[in-house]
């Protein structure tokens, strides 16, 4: 029994205030219904984003009505904490050219950022840069669709500006003249690697510098990375749920193989392009659910 019900039924806990009028209750009820609709529809819409740019038409209708309220009140979250899978972390390596030479570093860095919350803010920054990554060249399936190309261009520009904003910050911090950034992925080792192969969590083999230009593979974009069945399997590869939200570049596009100048190179090597939900960054936006 809920406390309110309990109180309502207990004579000793009878309310000492006048009950709200029927009109007030009706008005508040309508507001409550609207608000809770917004509370539910934001993560629901996020959950229905099973492919880039694709969501349930039913949720589209409601989200279009409630979006101003949802965005204004910071309700635009998916709440996909550590979902759909706990994924790799993304870091940023930087090299700043100054008059005294070059300064190199990486963030987040526990030794530099303290307390833990400040470290976590830097962690979210590096995740945000990675989440917003869009390579400069669209895949053919996007290039041939004006609408998708426009979205692509917009996202690419956001990534470009975001990267530039990071560079400006580092230039200011170190009084540098130029900055080079590198996105780095750090995957957690699996059970086998830790207990049999004796990897440490910071083993250098777990780090990978991510290229700014991805080799594009369209042969079967949703199955390049086999899902690891259990923790005793060596070399886990993260699964590849599709990133929801604005249209994302080629690797996650479903559909037939595109003819033409498609490079036959390796399949998508970097799961972060298609599994950003499992990593952090960008909270406050519907596209990534992210870690807490």
């Amino acid at each position: 029994m809920s406390p309110a019900k309990k109180q309502a039924e207990s004579p000793s806990l009878a309310p000492q205030v006048a009950p709200w009028s029927a009109l007030a209750r009706i008005a508040v009820s309508l507001l409550v219904v609207f608000h809770l609709t917004a509370v539910v529809i934001a993560p629901f819409h996020f959950a229905t984003n099973t492919r880039p740019g694709v969501s349930s038409p039913a949720s589209d209708v409601v989200i279009n009505v409630t979006k101003p309220y949802i965005d204004a009140t910071f309700l635009n979250h998916g709440y996909f904490f550590f979902a759909p899978n706990p994924g790799p972390s993304h870091l940023v390596d930087y090299e700043v050219q100054t008059e005294q030479g070059s300064v190199t570093g990486r963030f987040p860095d526990r030794s530099q950022q303290w307390p833990r919350l400040l470290y976590h803010r830097h962690f979210m920054l590096s995740e945000t840069l990675n989440t917003n990554f869009v390579p400069s060249q669209p895949p053919p399936v996007v290039a041939n669709d004006p609408e998708m190309l426009a979205l692509w261009t917009k996202d690419r520009n956001i990534y470009f500006e975001l990267r530039k904003s990071f560079e400006n910050r580092l230039k200011t911090q170190y009084s540098g003249s130029s900055v080079e950034l590198r996105r780095v992925e750090h995957r957690p080792p699996d059970w086998f690697e830790v207990f049999v192969q004796k990897y440490s969590l910071t083993d250098e083999r777990l780090y990978q510098v991510l290229p700014e230009e991805l080799p594009i593979a369209v042969s079967n974009p949703v199955q390049p990375n086999p899902v690891q069945p259990n923790p005793v399997q060596p070399n886990p590869v993260q699964p590849n749920p599709v990133q929801p939200g604005p249209v994302q570049p080629g690797p996650v596009q479903p559909g037939p193989v595109q003819p033409g100048p498609v490079q036959p190179g390796p399949l998508l090597p970097f799961p972060e392009r298609v599994s950003p939900e499992g990593t952090g960054g960008g909270q406050g936006v519907l596209r990534p659910g992210g870690t807490p």
Binding site: T128, L201, Q228, T291
Partner: protein
Amino acid sequence: MNAALTATKNWFLQSLSAWNRFWFSPTAPHTLAAIRVLTGVMLFYTHLVWALDLSAFLGPNSWISADMAGQVTRSAYTFSHLDYISTPTLLWICHIGALVVFALFTVGYKTRVMAVLSWLLALSYCHRLSGALFGLDQVNVMLAMYLMLGPCGAVFSVDRWLEKRKGASGISESTSANLAIRLIQIHLCVIYLFGGIGKMRGEFWWDGSAVWFSVANYEYQSLDATWLGFSPILIAVMTHLTVFWETFYAVLVWPKLTRPVVLAMALIVHGGICLFLGMITFGTAMIIANVAFVDPRTIDGLVKWAGSRVGLVIGPSSVGPSSVGPSSVGAVQGGGVAAAVASVASAGAVVTAGSGPSDSGVLQQPRRRRKS
């Protein structure tokens, strides 16, 4: 046919009554006030940490510039006063002002005003700081939003202490307190439900390895818990329990029988996040949100117990048993800051005397009066 119509009508009336009871039954404000104190501390600390590197996050050449923040959120419906601050001095003045608001909100001074300001400020910071946010900020803003709807300063507050000095007696139950608590409860259920649904889309949450990959993530790790790997079965059990608990929280938290179990799980899971996954603040914020499911009488009892512990530490002259009651006002007035703090802590015990929701002896008096 008539029977069907009658049954439908009865169902409709019962639903209406249930809705009315759920949202509009007045309740004691102790739970809401406790959440206010804890959320205020979280808001204050969260924004204090921004101050450690204020220019890097909010200055002219911040990590994510004001213009970029708007683009990252991809929304035209956000606003932040911080977008219009261009000088470091003004930025610092505004930031210190925000910290003062959060501090006043925490101690409960001019609480209704501070509650609204706290929500607006927390919201404004979140809109400006896109890209550096995570679950902590979501929960902070959520709680601040609902706290301003109810009388969250009715107890455990400087406001209450000042009212008592003016001779105020017991406090009233409040419909808006219930409304605010209900909204927190429902919102929390939504968070857990979609957290569970999201996990159900992931293979690692089904093959039992998700907890391993969480504790083996170096960037999140605060305490090494990879020793859990000595028992893959334990890891798998923890993984599956997490998914089922999160998914069914929205159902199981309501019945009296299962609520303690569900809340205990919340404490364990979020406590684990605090200890091992490096997110002390986020784990704490989620635990604070779960307080919404704690009965006001339990809060009252806990605060009284804590007040008595504080009394033992700072001296019986200020908050001994004799201070629990209207007569304590005089003692507090002469007791200085320590007595005032203790009085605020024990205010719940005092003010609930007239409001009823407590199992304590103090609260049995009005019951006897009513019976007689």
